[in-house]
């Protein structure tokens, strides 16, 4: 008889508010509510929580390490999401596991390589920084060549922010991916798309566009220290199958955790 208990408009709207305000997006929110609606009222919130757990990517495989050094990691995404700061955090961790070089291939923005250079200094790793206005692909090429010759274990490549709508910038990223293979054929070993949790549904479109252009292996979700929940990662997993590597909660070097579904769920229901 419990299936006779239809969800009232107000009740459905309350649950819709919860999902929308968490940036789930309308499509997925409605789909989830259609499922939850079938259960008796007293079970609905618990059912929603279980359902959401099933819609999340599982804890992923450990990050890929190259069979012979250097291991090359790319970081890209739209403007201001936290790429450069995230690289500093990665460098801080990876330096305990090997010799790290960061490559400043944002040759466009004012003081971009200065910012990365200061972080490298602070963390205590080496930096290969491009001249402003130089071709980012040649900066990467020279940097990775140097890293290979001098026995670096990890190379972290910082790129300029780019709107996924700008075709020439997407082409530039494709070239940056091709060029590194001349030095290290399997590179980049991981390609991190950095997404800002305070963004709305544009994050999904960014993921889709970047994936159509280059290899994207994992997402890094930043600015979770806001009240944003980053609900778009659910539809990114569902529609695009993109796993999440890393969750960033602030501007300092240890303001991050490795992705796990429980972190997302606790943040959502917290």
């Amino acid at each position: 008889f419990s299936s006779i208990q239809v969800m009232s408009e107000d009740e459905r709207d309350e649950l819709l508010a919860f999902l929308i305000k968490a940036d789930f997006g309308v499509m997925l929110a409605e789909e989830l509510l259609d499922i939850v609606e079938e259960y008796p009222p007293e079970e609905r919130e618990m059912r929603l929580r279980t359902l959401l757990a099933s819609y999340l990517p599982p804890k992923p495989e450990p990050i890929k390490i190259a069979s012979e050094p250097p291991t090359v990691y790319y970081f890209f995404g739209v403007n201001g999401v936290g790429k450069t700061t995230t690289i500093a955090k990665f460098a801080h961790i990876l330096k305990k596991r090997g010799k790290v070089m960061v490559i400043g291939a944002d040759t466009f923005r004012a003081a971009a390589t200065d910012q990365l250079g200061l972080w490298a200094e602070k963390v205590g790793v080496d930096a290969h920084l491009g001249e402003r206005g130089a071709d980012p692909s040649s900066v990467i090429y020279t940097g990775v060549e140097k890293a290979k010759a001098r026995g670096y274990d990890f190379v972290l490549v910082d790129t300029a922010g780019r709107m996924s709508t700008k075709k020439n910038l997407i082409e530039e990223l494709k070239k940056m991916e091709r060029v590194v293979k001349k030095v290290v054929p399997d590179a980049p070993h991981e390609s991190f798309l950095v997404l800002d949790a305070t963004q709305g549904q544009a994050a999904f479109r960014q993921a889709k566009t970047f994936m159509e252009a280059v290899q994207v292996t994992r997402i890094i979700l930043t600015k979770l220290d806001s009240t944003a929940k980053g609900g778009f990662i659910f539809s990114i997993w569902k529609e695009l199958g993109l796993p999440i590597a890393f969750l960033s909660f602030g501007q300092e070097l240890d303001d991050w955790v490795e992705y796990s579904p429980s972190v997302i769920l606790d943040n959502l229901f917290g």
């Binding site: 819709l16 508010a17 929308i20 305000k21 968490a22 940036d23 997006g25 309308v26 499509m27 409605e30 739209v78 403007n79 201001g80 999401v81 936290g82 466009f108 923005r109 004012a110 003081a111 200065d114 910012q115 250079g117 200061l118 972080w119 602070k122 922010g161 709107m163 996924s164 709508t165 700008k166 800002d196 305070t198 963004q199 709305g200 549904q201 544009a202 994050a203 479109r205 960014q206 566009t209 600015k223 220290d225 806001s226 009240t227 944003a228 778009f232 501007q251």
Partner: protein, 291 residues
């Protein structure tokens, strides 16, 4: 795609002729979904739909001969009214005008400071100085200084060697200059970070700026409502500058920001270069939100 749904619905309503209450309810439900898909805040959408419904009743839409055209017009008019008109940046003649830029991390404050300086030089033919006040971000002052050189504006940094702000030093310095406008670039901060929100209140208190602009990313999601509310409560926000409008966001945050703060959106950032700043265009933004 949701907005196609709206278009298809309007076309089928057009064939119907007169509208029933059910047609209107169905239309408003679809409109609600379009607005939510455009990142307009949930509570803002609720109020918007309520207002549109009221306007439809007042217009006696069920008795109308060409209801679909009237329906579309009412929705667009309501959207444009909320988004408001662009407001010119008025400067104090013969005196220093101080503009303080505040907002979340990475929203585009420093870049916008450069764009404002360019605008003030080129369009208003006045003399701007860029003032660095970000003690946290590595190379923040360098970034602003580079922009100042690019647009041929003055530059001053309040940031001391020990990482604190020398506000008195700035006040002393600026009094001895003849700049028309000082644009002060602050550090990015989360609206939920009590310490940083307290800090910006203190900076504002010490400077007493003529304008306080909330620099906000057009791609913001539902968070835009909370951000607008927190900054609006903490500071006397004079206006909003919407950045990264050149992305593919539908820009619903613009509506939320307007609803919550009630202040005008002065400018929109349309790209990364210093000349990519335009007066806010409500027609462009309404079209993006509704399409």
């Amino acid at each position: 795609d949701l907005s196609d749904k709206l278009v298809n619905m309007l076309n089928s309503l057009r064939k119907k002729g007169k509208l029933t209450k059910e047609d209107i309810d169905k239309f408003l439900k679809n409109l609600k979904m379009v607005l939510l898909a455009s990142d307009v805040g949930f509570d803002v959408v609720r109020v918007f739909i309520k207002d549109v419904r009221k306007k439809l009743e007042e217009a006696n839409i069920e008795k109308s001969i060409s209801p679909v055209d009237q329906l579309t017009k009412i929705v667009y008019d309501e959207m444009r009214e909320i988004l408001g008109q662009p407001v010119p940046l008025k400067l104090k003649p013969g005196k220093l005008t101080q503009i303080l830029l505040v907002g979340l991390q990475g929203s585009g404050k420093t870049t916008t400071a450069g764009k404002l300086a360019y605008y003030i030089k080129k369009k208003l033919r006045k003399s701007p100085i860029l003032v660095a006040a970000d003690t946290y971000r590595p190379a923040a002052a360098q970034q602003l200084r580079t922009l100042a050189n690019e647009v041929d504006a003055g530059f001053y940094s309040m940031v001391k060697e020990d990482g604190t702000l020398d506000i008195d030093g700035y006040k002393k310095f600026i009094r001895g200059t003849l700049y028309d406008v000082a644009i002060i670039d602050s550090a990015g901060r989360m609206h939920v970070d009590e310490e940083l929100m307290e800090e910006i209140k203190q900076l504002h208190e010490a400077l007493q700026p003529d304008y306080v602009f909330l620099v906000a990313d057009a791609m913001l999601g539902q968070e835009a409502v909370d951000i607008a509310d927190a900054f609006h409560k903490a500071l006397p926000i004079s206006g909003v500058i919407l950045t990264k409008v050149d992305g593919d966001t539908r820009g619903g945050a613009a509506l939320s920001l307007r609803y919550v703060t009630g202040v005008p959106i002065y400018f929109m950032g349309m790209g990364e270069k210093v000349d990519a700043l335009e007066p806010f265009d409500p027609d462009e933004i309404s079209a993006r939100i509704l399409d």
